[in-house]
Structures are given as structure tokens and as C-alpha cells.
């Protein structure tokens, strides 16, 4: 593996295979030349150009690099769970070229100083682009405003609450009004903390049978409704993160029809699994929001298909093994998921639940639009791209996973979709063993 290969001088030509162009869908690859950090040419011009290397992408898909709106890199402060070097390599392995870093670090990213610390570390050890999300309240304690202007100046692209709540609606309303002042998007995972209480699993059949403490759906839907109303009133751009309920999707669609500036994402594991994954007390599937019922899963998939949900996220949460080695209620929530997102999505495509262009849109143009950006595989665009073999297989295991967290959602069987090459600004961030380059 040549993790540092740089195609910016000699150039790399990609021929054959299919190209995912967000505006057009999947088209036959007319030839694509990468040089100087950008896509230098597409089509005949690219075919005719001289380049140091050529990769035949027959049978493969070339897509803009995936963008993850919700990822935990665990740095600073949680080195036992992961760090910027390990988790950005994992991201590249998953086909991601840009990840938004959750503010839930230690210390919390609630000031420009912490943002600078993160970005300095990314500059020296990261292999993909990292866009920090600032904390919406100081220390994510839900009480006092964070230095939002300072966060924005230091490079934060939005402010959010990580996985924590805000004390009350009055504070939330002020957070939104303050964020709106600076044009910052508010990214919120909706959960009414009083209704969620001590729960850690979907309040449904499985919790009833296993005697687990449930989080009722209304803990999410009541929060979604409150946030939509507050966003409408304050005029802030709201992004709802990690939806888990059918009703949330319904309310989201209605709010959009009313003209509320709201976007949303869903974690891939919410599209692939349900509460039944917990049936054997499998602590890997202790996630928050919890995995819910089959009807919810289907509604979330439909939300992605219809474009009501803009983006699919990894909600990557690497942990050390001790955090998951305990009775389920005592474990920490989260999956080490970023390397399996594409594969789980391709399984949905195989099962005819999603079309491949819908999946790829929700991993590229969808999240880019949430960040106010555009992605395209056209001349002049940044050479952030990923090349994958939809029919190739790989098996997640301690030997193949690059994340420090080994609790991937699937470990015991092979998954479709092998990422062959990930380029960030024309540099190789991931190259599968055996890729002829």
C-alpha cells in the first residue's frame, strides 16, 4: 500500500467503469485526469493527455469522495478510543474524503483554541479533510452559549450538541438565535432528555422482553417538533442529525413543505438494523438514538429514497474494548461504523430498497448541500474521489479494519463493496491491496 502516493505532478488517468455525477446519475466514464489536486480534464481531453499512471476502472464506480456529517475522531482527549490518524485512515478506507468532527471531545470543542488544536493535528496526521463542528453550548453542558463567532472564525462549519441535550427550550431558542446571527447551521440530534431519562434501547418489543430501559419514540418526535417550531421562529438553518423514527421523517417533510429551512440525516445503521439486533444483549448495537422497529427502518429508507432525508452519516463512534465489554446497560453507545457505510448501503441496493444513485447522492451531493457546498466530477473540481467495486467483497475483522474501534456492525460475514482507491486533493488516502497502481 502506498498511502502517500501523490498524483499531483505526473497525473493519474482513470479509464473505464462508471462515473457517478450527482446531477446526472451513473454514466459511463468518459475518462478522467487528476493532476495538481484537481480534476484537470474529463472526456476526450483527458483521454488524449499524457499521465504518469493509468488505472483501468472497468466494473467499478468512480464517485465524488463521500462526505460524513457525523463522525467522532476522539481527539483530543480520548486516545484510548481512537485518534485523528487512525480514524481518518478508517474514513478513507470507507471511501470518505471529508468528515465533520463531532464537538464531543475532551475538552469539548467549544472555543477557537480547541478547533485550532484539532485542525493542527489534522494538518500533520490526517489523511482526509476534517471539518470541525463546534459545541452549541459551553462544555456541551446545555446551559451557556459557546463562543460561536470564535468557533466559526477558527473553521467550524456548524454548531451542534453532539449526543447531549440542552437544558430547556428557552436556552435552545437563544442558541438558535445566536447561531443565526453568524449564519451558522445548527446541527442537532433531537432527544427530549426528560423523556429519554435513563433509557438506552428502543421502548418496544425487545426492551419489554429483555427488561431493558426504553427510550420511547416520543423522546425524539417531541424534540423534533420543538426544534422545527423554534427554527421556524428564529430563522436559523437547522439540520436534524441521526433521525430514528418514522414520525420524525413525516414531520420533517411537512416542515419543508411549509418552507422551514431544515435538512436532516440518518445513520446507516438505522437503515440496516432494527431493535431485534439487541435480542441477544449484543452491546455493539447499543447506539443512540436506539435502533427502532421495522416500520421506522422502512420509513427512514424511504426518506432517503425520496430525498426528504438529505444525507446518510456514519455516526462513527470508536471505542476501546473495555467500553463494550460489560453487561449491555453498562456499555457505551456507538458503533465503529465508518468503514462499513458503503457496504451496508450496497446491501440495501441489492435488496431493492434503494437505488445506487440514491445511496451515492446521500453520501456526496446531499451532505455537501447541507454544508452549503457542491460536489462534481467535472474539470476544475477538487480531486476528492473514491473508486469502489460494487461486486467485490471484504470481511470486516481486526485484520481489515483501520479504526481503533473493532466493534463494527458486521464482523462475521463478507460484505459487498470494496473501496479500491480514495483520493483527497489528488493524494492517495486509501488504496486496497492489489490495486494495480
Amino acid at each position: 500500500m502506498t498511502a502517500s502516493a501523490n498524483w499531483n505532478e505526473g497525473g493519474l488517468k482513470l479509464t473505464g467503469g462508471q462515473l457517478f455525477e450527482p446531477g446526472k446519475g451513473l454514466i459511463s466514464n468518459p475518462g478522467l485526469l487528476v493532476r495538481n489536486g484537481r480534476i484537470e480534464a474529463v472526456g476526450e481531453q483527458a483521454q488524449a493527455a499524457e499521465s504518469a499512471a493509468t488505472l483501468d476502472a472497468a466494473g467499478q464506480v468512480i464517485a465524488p469522495g463521500f462526505i460524513d456529517l457525523c463522525c467522532n475522531l476522539r481527539e483530543p482527549g480520548n486516545g484510548q478510543k481512537g485518534n485523528i490518524a487512525s480514524e481518518t485512515r478508517a474514513a478513507a478506507h470507507g471511501g470518505f474524503t471529508t468528515v465533520c468532527a463531532s464537538p464531543e471531545t475532551s475538552p469539548v470543542n467549544d472555543s477557537g483554541a480547541v478547533t485550532n488544536l484539532i485542525l493542527d493535528s489534522v494538518a500533520s496526521r490526517g489523511v482526509v479533510r476534517v471539518l470541525p463542528i463546534g459545541a452549541i453550548t459551553r462544555g456541551l453542558d446545555g446551559d451557556m452559549l459557546s463562543d460561536m463567532a470564535g468557533l466559526k472564525a477558527a473553521g467550524c462549519v456548524a454548531v451542534g450538541n453532539g449526543s447531549r441535550g440542552v437544558r430547556n427550550a428557552r436556552i435552545l431558542r437563544r442558541c438558535m438565535a445566536y447561531a443565526q446571527t453568524f449564519g451558522l447551521t445548527v446541527m442537532f440530534s433531537p432527544e427530549n432528555t426528560a423523556l429519554a431519562a435513563d433509557g438506552y434501547a428502543h421502548d418496544g418489543q425487545v426492551t419489554t422482553r429483555l427488561g431493558l430501559l426504553g427510550i420511547p419514540e416520543v423522546a425524539e418526535t417531541a424534540a423534533v417538533m420543538e426544534m422545527l417550531l423554534l427554527a421556524e421562529e428564529t430563522g436559523v438553518r437547522l439540520h436534524l442529525s441521526q433521525l430514528s423514527c418514522a414520525r420524525s421523517v413525516e414531520m420533517l417533510a411537512q416542515a419543508r413543505d411549509r418552507g422551514v429551512k431544515v435538512t436532516a440525516d440518518v445513520a446507516m445503521h438505522q437503515l440496516a438494523f432494527t431493535e431485534s439486533a439487541l435480542a441477544g444483549f449484543d452491546s455493539r448495537f447499543h447506539v443512540r438514538p436506539p435502533l427502532r422497529g421495522e416500520a421506522d427502518r422502512q420509513a427512514l429508507v424511504a426518506g432517503v429514497r425520496d430525498g426528504v432525508i438529505d444525507a446518510i452519516v456514519s455516526q462513527h463512534q470508536p471505542h476501546d474494548s473495555a467500553a463494550k465489554q460489560a453487561p449491555l446497560p453498562a456499555t457505551e453507545p456507538g458503533l465503529s461504523s465508518i468503514e462499513s457505510v458503503l457496504s451496508l448501503g450496497l446491501e440495501l441496493v441489492q435488496n431493492h430498497e434503494l437505488e445506487l444513485p440514491d445511496l451515492l447522492r446521500a453520501l456526496t451531493a446531499g451532505p455537501a448541500a447541507v454544508l452549503g457546498r457542491e460536489v462534481a466530477l467535472t474539470a476544475g473540481a477538487a480531486a476528492d474521489l473514491c473508486l469502489f467495486d460494487p461486486d467485490g467483497h471484504w470481511q470486516p475483522s481486526a485484520a481489515t479494519l483501520l479504526s481503533a474501534g473493532r466493534h463494527a456492525p458486521v464482523l462475521e460475514r463478507a460484505l459487498p463493496g470494496e473501496v479500491k482507491l480514495t483520493l483527497v486533493a489528488g493524494r492517495t488516502a486509501w488504496q486496497a491491496p492489489g490495486t494495480p497502481l
Binding site: 422482553r209 429483555l210 453498562a330
Partner: protein, 336 residues
């Protein structure tokens, strides 16, 4: 999507269907439950002898690991193990290792290293015995002595033994479980056992705040009104009400609960005349049950305690048998 097997039989049964851990009644069928009851019946006689011992677990080490305190359950497990001639170690973990910061896994691995053969585990977290059997010490037989709100399978089986002694059968029986079903591991295991053994109807009687969501899916009907719920009953099982339930706005007061759901002579009169009264203990007199009923002729509460020893002897000897058979098999496979 994963279609995980909802029953942990791959964990608690050997390849030929013998018990090797006893974690939950989920997944266990009528023949095995009947086998446990029959085995317990044969141990009842041991308790009536002047020398109350059989050598089935001689030379084996049983560790009672109580991460949550309990007097009755621990005492009956201890007596059961001693009557089977095992060496018994009682550990009250809530005041020892884990309070020094040692993790659950480390505590158990240390005990396993002392050549323990069986752990009897009581824990406040649902799934703890399952976790231990699956991930920590699979070679030690694990007996669930109550985990969180999940299961209390030996309590449910001693209740079944008590019902069978008094009614002779399960077919055609109407059984009600009254009170705090939401927090009750006992109720979950009882509902399962009664369904598997063929009871005609299992009713839960409680206000909506003390019932888990979709409780009917467990195999029971719901009745909010106790007078209606008592009709035609053969067995009524009262659950203990914890005083904390008033604080979380689950109930207004003990007084109102007792008025609506407490068992007194008048309400018991609505059931069949030979209806038996059960309670897993310890009872709150005047909160869920009137003294006259608890001490009355229809009460079998103390029989339950006596049966507890026989059931625990049965489960411990059966699980040890399965575990030993498997060890031998592994050794043979190792040699071959």
C-alpha cells in the same frame, strides 16, 4: 438486517439439548421445564431426611456472586449447593471488588482462576449473566439468580412447582400476576413459564404506569380493574411494590395502590374458592397484600420458599451435569 435468534439456547444448552447455563426461560421448551420440576420433586424428599445431603456436586466449587443484596435467594442457593455437597463461597460484591474499581470481567476471571465450577449471579443490570456466560467465563456454569428487570428463572420455576403441587396440572388454569410488572424480572419469567407449561390464561393486573410497553406480546392479557381481573382465578400472584415508585410519578400513594390493587379477603372472594395466593417475597403487608390473606389458608407463600431449595438443587445439578459432559467432550476432541 440481522435476524438474531431471540433465544439464547446456543448459550445455555449443550449440543444435545442439556442445560449448561440457566440464564432465562426464553427458548426453553415444555419437556425441559417439566424435567426441572420432576427433578426438584425428587429433591424435596432430601429436605425431609435427618441428613439432608446428596453427593451430586461433591468436590465442585459454587460461588454465589451477589452484586445486589438479597437474603432469601442467596440463602436458598447456599443451602441448595450445600445439600448437593458442593463447596460454597459467598461473595457480596456490592461491597467488595467492584467498589475498588475492578471491572466485572476482571473479578470473574480471578474467580475462575480459583477453579470455580459454577457462578450463581444476581446483578442489577439486565443481561449481566448472559454477558458473563457469553464473553467472560463460558466454561463456568452460570445460574441467573435475578438480573435487572430481565429474568429470575429459578423463582419462576419454584412458583411453577408450587402451582403443580397444589393444582396438579397447568392446563385450564387461569393465573393473574398483580402489581409492578414493569420493574419485575419475576413476572417476565413467570409469564414465559406459564405459557410454555400450558396455562389457559395469564392476566396481568396493574395500572398503565406499571406495565411495560406492549406487554401482551409476552403472552398475557391486561386488566386494569382488579375486581374484574380476579374473576375465575385459580392462582393469584402478588408482586412486591418498591416504595420508590411514588417518587417517579408512577403511583400517587401506597394508600391508593392498596385500595385499587392490594389483595384483601374481599377481593380474594371474587376468585375461585380454591384459588391459591402466591408472592415472591419479601411481602409488604398492607401495601400489596393484607396480613389476613398472606397468613390465611389460601396462602402458599411459605411453600414457595421451601420449594425454592429443591428447584435450585435441580437447576444446579442439571447445569453442572451439562457443563461436565461438555468438558469431557472437549477433552476427548482435544485428544482426538
Amino acid at each position: 438486517m440481522t435476524a438474531n435468534d431471540p433465544s439464547p439456547n446456543h448459550l445455555q444448552l449443550t449440543r444435545d439439548g442439556q442445560l449448561r447455563h440457566f440464564l432465562t426461560l426464553d427458548g426453553l421448551g415444555q419437556p425441559l421445564l417439566t424435567d426441572i420440576l420432576d427433578t426438584a420433586d425428587s429433591f424435596i424428599e432430601v429436605g425431609e431426611r435427618s441428613i439432608k445431603k446428596v453427593p451430586l456436586l461433591r468436590g465442585r466449587t459454587v460461588v454465589n456472586l451477589f452484586f445486589e443484596s438479597s437474603t432469601r435467594t442467596r440463602s436458598t442457593f447456599e443451602l441448595a449447593a450445600k445439600r448437593l455437597s458442593a463447596d460454597v463461597l459467598n461473595l457480596d460484591i456490592s461491597t467488595s471488588a467492584t467498589s475498588k474499581g475492578e471491572s466485572l470481567s476482571d473479578t470473574l476471571l480471578n474467580l475462575e482462576a480459583m477453579a470455580s465450577d459454577m457462578f450463581v449471579v444476581r446483578h442489577s443490570q439486565s443481561g449481566a449473566p448472559h454477558f458473563i456466560a457469553e464473553s467472560v467465563t463460558p466454561g463456568v456454569a452460570i445460574i441467573n439468580a435475578g438480573d435487572g428487570r430481565h429474568a429470575h428463572p429459578t423463582q419462576a420455576m419454584l412458583d411453577m412447582l408450587t402451582i403443580r403441587q397444589h393444582k396438579g396440572r397447568f392446563e385450564g388454569l387461569k393465573v393473574a400476576i398483580v402489581g409492578d410488572v414493569l420493574h419485575s424480572r419475576v413476572a417476565r419469567s413467570q409469564i414465559r413459564a406459564l405459557n410454555v407449561l400450558g396455562a389457559e390464561e395469564v392476566r396481568v393486573i396493574a395500572p398503565g404506569t406499571l406495565l411495560p410497553r406492549d406487554v401482551e406480546d409476552l403472552g398475557c392479557t391486561v386488566e386494569y380493574d382488579m375486581a374484574r381481573g380476579m374473576k375465575d382465578l385459580d392462582v393469584v400472584i402478588m408482586l412486591r411494590l418498591q416504595k420508590e415508585r411514588m417518587e417517579g410519578a408512577l403511583l400517587p400513594s401506597e394508600r391508593e395502590f392498596y385500595r385499587l390493587y392490594g389483595l384483601n379477603q374481599e377481593k380474594l372472594g371474587l376468585a375461585k374458592p380454591d384459588c391459591i395466593v402466591m408472592h415472591p417475597g419479601p411481602i409488604n403487608r398492607g401495601v400489596e397484600i393484607e396480613s389476613a390473606v398472606a397468613d390465611g389458608p389460601q396462602s402458599v407463600i411459605l411453600n414457595q420458599v421451601t420449594n425454592g431449595i429443591a428447584i435450585r438443587m435441580a437447576v444446579m445439578s442439571m447445569a453442572m451435569g451439562g457443563q461436565m459432559a461438555e468438558r469431557q467432550q472437549r477433552q476427548q476432541e482435544g485428544r482426538a
